[in-house]
Amino acid sequence: MDKKIYLDNAATTKTRPEVVDAMLPYFTELFGNPSSVYEYAAQNKKVVDEARGIIGNALGAETAEIYFTAGGSESDNWALKATIDAYADKGNHIITSKIEHHAILHTCEYLEKHGVEVTYIDVDENGILKLDQLEKAIRPTTILISIMFANNEIGTMQPIKEIGEIAKKHNILFHTDAVQAFGQVPINVNDLNIDMLSASAHKLNGPKGIGFLYIRKGVKIRSFVHGGAQERQRRAGTENVPAIVGFGKATQIAMDTMEERIDIEIKLRNLLMKRILEEVPYARVNGDKVRRLPNNINVCFQFIEGESLLIMLDMKNICASSGSACTSGSLDPSHVLLAIGLPHEVAHGSLRLTLNHENTEEEINYTVDQIKEIVDKLRKMSPLYEDFTRKR
């Protein structure tokens, strides 16, 4: 195919042209600083609050509970570090999972170096949190449970409602990293007892560099970025007006089109999954079959290594990922795949394909054809495959 086939929507997405159009006036025509006194800038304050309202609405939250940040990572850092700060009198214990994004895990490691105690809960072979382990991990000093809504690698969605209930029962704050879920699946923070929620616009066809942290009214965490009085004194820095407007627009479109997008994605994903499992031997799908993001497929091809596969797919104009794009610099085997019990060599052979509504059946079929050929080629080169066939 001449055209690029983009199957890495969990890494980032195309900003929708309508979103860019919505942003454009705020660069050159209406560029004022929303904190200024004059009318010209008051318009910018208004559009920022409109975007806030759209997002609050999407979550069943109040407008004033949405705080803009520079992205999912900042939101995650904020939620964890500021909770430790604000609730120090209650305790210094956090519970999270083994399959969180590095924005959570590395923040936890940082906090551990500063005397915070962290329990990392196991997941089962499908990546679902072990709820009994969670309940047992709770201590009188536990101040926060942070469990991601949906996993960025294997797409597994956690039993958020049950986790929220456990948190509530024990009077512990509940934060969820919903960077992969917001705008993709319905979320209601009240139904789910969520106290804090992180999201990032570029995962839902919005711009990069903008995210938010939902903070339930009454949660007393303060700033992570200190300075000016922006975001009701909780997040300093001149408001990124164009990006905020774009985030509002992207959220609006995401909510309006959610159902049809899910339909398209599930249909394409099922085709992809079915053909791979039927046509490529020694392939295994990772993550839960049911509790799963509509657009995610993660599969391991035994005896081959992921980066080789990615490069060869790339040469066929297919953009895909092996584990989180954020960590592809190191290409260590994914901590998520290890946590669901895969041996290292299998984890190394993982492929993540994350679809979006613009993908077509033709693209999917072409992709499977290429995967078949490449996997075959790589296995012919693989000493592990050689050993395996010899043994049989």
Partner: protein
């Protein structure tokens, strides 16, 4: 991220395959790190590397360094082959990204391991060659599909 030479050797790797009744076979690396290389050598009675084949499980750089290493040793004497360092492999590939330098070390090691196997089989001692250290099954279990 890779040079053209690396991409060439990755997409059209030279000398992929096996050699039946090879004079020496060496396998290095381990699955945990995601790189395994196996080199087969066919060595003449005069000690010349007549043929060489490889199999590699690993990233683009691992495949390319294996391929280049086999090209470099082919036709060489055992002593000449021993002189081929990872640096030579990298240079022949117009360089590697810093995080991939270990792949070229693995290629050097794989050659040495195959030569060691040859020496053991022939019951000879090759000047300047020591026993390879890596084990491809470091703490890994088989997986059922």
């Amino acid at each position: 991220m890779y040079s053209e030479k690396v991409m060439d050797h990755f997409t059209n790797p030279r000398n992929v395959g096996e050699i039946d009744n090879a004079s020496g076979v060496g396998t290095v690396g381990n699955a945990k790190c995601g790189d395994i290389m196996r080199i087969y050598l066919d060595i003449t009675e005069e000690g010349v590397i007549n043929d060489v084949k490889f199999k590699t499980f690993g990233c683009g750089a691992a495949v390319a360094t294996s391929s280049m290493a086999t090209e470099l040793v082919k036709g060489k004497t055992v002593q000449e082959a021993l002189q081929i360092t990872n640096k030579a492999v990298m240079e022949a590939l117009d360089g590697l990204p810093p995080v991939k330098v270990h792949c070229s070390l693995l290629a050097e090691e794989a050659i040495h391991a195959a030569l060691w196997d040859y020496a053991e089989k022939m019951n000879i001692k090759i000047e300047g060659l020591s026993k390879p250290k890596s084990d491809i099954h470091d703490g890994e279990e088989e997986v059922e599909y």
